[in-house]
């Protein structure tokens, strides 16, 4: 085998320019896919991080039916205290969970005594929420970086629109579950930046204050956000939790709880999917480039060497060896292109990290793109390029191995 490699590689070196051109094409293709995967991956993970760590959490538990009408934040679909207790008990059984945060969410009116607008309120336990969505404090642009009783964090949108400052007194009015209306005064404790998504009007207050506004006697919970120790175990934990909680049935025999990952809660998931689909198509393009360029040179190589093929066949080289000889050439082209592509990608990604490319996403500005090459990706994409090279060489190689020696020798 090694001796066939020697001959194959020498044959490649015989047409230096052509070999160089083909393997550079493969190298550029491999490099492009790797850099794209690294960059889009970084972008995706920054985005997912932003979304899960500043608001959603990794997964959430609701009462079944709540998510379908999540826009109106229906109080009638809250989890009862008993149900919430069940959720907490389940969460504590799952060791992969780092933190969780029960929330009361409602829609209400927000007034500075002169103007009124609507607001979406998140009533939370400050410690639990910050543990679950650790980027929350960083979103508080003015005021104290926590949520105290009697205070409210209002979204930038409202602060600007109604010209409200930290320390001002405001009123939050909400329709309660039974249809009556209640209001409560708050002091603005801080102004919070929104995350991209349906968060433009989200304000925060202490969960006890929320209960008071809604005149709840017993705490009812709209959602429980959950943070995992390892984001990579998202689906596993989701399934585990779903399995444990789906045993709980209501009177109609239907499951009470609804467990979903961030993917099924945020429209950004579609963006993330798009990125994956684009990466996939770019990989297909790479395969096409490799196939076409290798097939092209190998067809040429076979055609140019017909007499040589006739000669080695006459000398007793069996068809399988002739086949391997040409496959080895395709393989070597693929492997050298892939290797060069990997090296180029490493250099480019390194440079990108040194230069620190920043980008803006929604209201988040100056986020640093930090692409990183994954070894899995490098192996996988190199394998694709090498396998495609061998496949592309197969047809010309078969043709060479099936040549009749007399005809090959007569060829001029």
């Amino acid at each position: 085998m090694l001796k066939l490699f020697k001959i194959g590689i020498r044959n490649l070196l015989r047409y230096k320019r052509r070999t160089l051109l083909t393997s550079s094409l493969i190298a550029v293709g491999v490099m492009f896919v790797l850099v794209f995967a690294a960059t889009s991956g970084s972008f995706k993970y920054i985005m997912i991080g932003q979304i899960t760590d500043s608001m959603l959490g990794h997964l959430q538990v609701h009462k079944r039916g709540y998510v379908a009408s999540i826009d109106s934040l229906p109080l009638t679909l809250n989890l009862s205290a008993k149900q919430e207790e069940k959720v907490e008990k389940t969460i504590k059984e799952i060791t992969e969970i780092e933190a969780f945060s029960p929330r009361i969410k409602f829609g209400g009116m927000f007034s500075n005594f002169m103007e009124t607008t609507n607001i979406r309120v998140n009533g939370v336990y400050p410690d639990k929420d910050i543990a679950t969505v650790p980027l929350l404090p960083s979103r508080i642009k003015q005021g104290e970086k926590t949520i105290k009783k009697g205070k409210i964090l209002i979204p930038e949108l409202l602060a600007n629109g109604l010209k409200v400052k930290v320390g001002d007194t405001v009123v939050v009015i909400a329709t309660n579950r039974d249809g009556s209306v209640n209001g409560k005064q708050f002091v603005v404790g801080g102004i919070i930046e929104s995350v991209t998504g349906p968060g433009g009007r989200d304000g925060y207050m202490h969960i006890v204050d929320a209960m008071e506004v809604l005149r709840m006697e017993e705490m009812e919970i709209s959602e429980v956000a959950v943070r995992l120790k390892d984001f990579g175990k998202l689906n596993a934990v989701n399934d585990k939790m779903d399995k444990l909680l789906s045993k709980e049935l209501n009177k109609q025999g239907k499951p009470i709880f609804d467990v979903r990952t961030w993917e099924r809660l945020s429209p950004f998931y579609n963006v993330a999917r798009m990125i994956d689909i684009m990466t996939f198509f770019i990989k297909i393009m790479l395969i096409a480039i490799v196939l076409i360029s290798i097939m092209n040179v190998m067809i040429m190589a076979v055609f140019e060497r017909v007499r040589e093929i006739g000669t080695i066949a006459a000398l007793g080289t069996i068809p399988e060896k002739i086949l391997s000889l040409f496959l080895i050439e395709g393989f070597s082209l693929g492997i050298s292109g892939a290797a060069a592509g990997n090296i180029l990608a490493i250099i480019i990604v390194f440079v990108m990290n040194v230069v620190k490319i920043t980008f803006n996403f929604g209201r988040q500005t100056g986020m640093v793109l930090s692409p990183s090459l994954k070894v899995d990706d490098m192996i996988f994409i190199s394998a694709i390029a090498i396998i495609a090279s061998v496949i592309a060489a197969l047809q010309p190689a078969l043709k060479a191995s099936r040549m009749e020696p007399v005809e090959a020798l007569r060829h001029v």
Partner: protein
């Protein structure tokens, strides 16, 4: 004992609608350790015949045995194995492998076809290069040596596997007189030293004068033969 025995050997080429009968019922025997040549004008069927004997092509009809094997029954792969084991080839255009050095060209059949051990290869190649007088050129590549030198390398390559039969289709056609005679001389020495059978095709009188037996082909028919020694009429 006959190394090659042909009986009513016929080869017809089909070119579109036209049938070209390149060999018409040819019969002959070639004994082991002989030095024979097929001669005849261009188009008389010399190459066709050598290709059949060399197991590179199959007869249309008739029987052909080489080393007691009915070669027309072999598959492509079996034929390759048979050639590798029993035959050596010398071509008019030398057909050295351009990416291999002189030494490596001679090594090729041992290395790729026979998988011989390194020590044995080295001994055999060194001695053959010595015999053909190419030892000091062993590291050169085919495009760095002359035609006569190439043919000497080709002779070494044809003999390196100790074949029973070497087929040489017009081996001197591209060589000048002096070189041609030297090449023929080397081949004869090989025959004497190793008992290898050589079958040539040629229309080179210089070669004809050197061989033991001459078969003359004309329009695919064996017309006369001048047997000196070794060859017999069938």
């Amino acid at each position: 004992m006959s190394l090659v025995s042909a009986e009513n050997l016929t080869k017809i080429y089909n070119v579109g609608e036209i049938e070209i009968e390149a060999l018409k019922s040819v019969s002959f025997n070639v004994q082991s350790a002989s030095f024979v040549s097929f001669v005849g004008p261009s188009g008389s069927g010399k190459t066709t015949l050598l290709n059949l004997i060399g197991c590179l092509d199959k007869p249309t009809s008739g029987s052909l045995k080489v080393a007691d094997v009915d070669t027309s029954a072999l598959t492509r792969k079996e034929a390759a194995v048979f050639r590798g084991k029993n035959l050596g080839f010398i071509f008019q255009d030398f057909n050295l492998i351009p990416v291999l050095s002189v030494y490596e060209n001679v090594e090729y059949p041992l290395l790729i076809v026979h998988n011989s051990p390194a020590e044995e290869r080295k001994k055999r190649i060194t001695s053959l290069l010595e015999t053909v007088g190419m030892t000091d050129q062993r590291d050169k590549y085919p495009d760095q040596i002359s035609g006569g030198q190439k043919q000497r390398v080709a002779i070494a390559r044809a003999l390196v596997t100790n074949p029973r039969l070497v087929l040489a289709d017009e081996p001197t056609a591209n060589l000048d007189s002096k070189t041609a005679l030297m090449v023929i001389d080397i081949m004869r020495k090989m025959k004497e030293e190793f008992g290898v059978t050589f079958i040539f095709s040629t229309h080179d009188q210089r070669v004809v004068n050197e061989v033991e037996a001459v078969y003359t082909l004309q329009d695919g028919i064996l017309v006369e033969d001048a047997v000196r020694e070794g060859g017999t009429n069938a």
